[in-house]
Amino acid sequence: DAGVTQSPTHLIKTRGQQVTLRCSPISGHKSVSWYQQVLGQGPQFIFQYYEKEERGRGNFPDRFSARQFPNYSSELNVNALLLGDSALYLCASSFGQGESTDTQYFGPGTRLTVL
């Protein structure tokens, strides 16, 4: 079975630009979460979506937005890029049914570099 897929693999942007990252979950998974991982740190939660609705949002500015489509794939958008947005952006999928047993599986990530 295919795992979580993300595109693109790498991306280089300049300050002030906008970027869209894409994620396809594991077949059967209805929840997608986005995380940001900067060098030397563990991943930090950005968003979680379930059945196209936003379930939760981490401590990130409004420049960050996301959405989930009817096929459960998801996009993460970042506007007005700053140098500090340079990071590995990870997508994780899960069944999303119940907090007690939910397990998230991660994609390979998109490496974003902001110059």
Binding site: Q41, P43, P108, G109
Partner: protein
Amino acid sequence: AQSVSQHNHHVILSEAASLELGCNYSYGGTVNLFWYVQYPGQHLQLLLKYFSGDPLVKGIKGFEAEFIKSKFSFNLRKPSVQWSDTAEYFCAVTLVGLNSGYSTLTFGKGTMLLVSP
């Protein structure tokens, strides 16, 4: 807010040595606990998880972890490491019972393990 602490940022071991990586979390309620591993050039993979029941959890590749509730700890162990265990290891928790209907992972900063042949 909850946090996760991993005691060592870098660990260097020789093959066949025993491994124990520390993980502590700060949350007084019910938690689910995870260890993820990131091998060089690969994505984060689930190593093992604890939801409830037996506090000694066995995962893939001979790894195990023990949940000690009184110590808020979930240490990862392996009796004899191999060169192929060289990777970065992340401990993570989700909170249970917040009635939010969803769970998000809070990660530690990770421990880079280097196993020399």
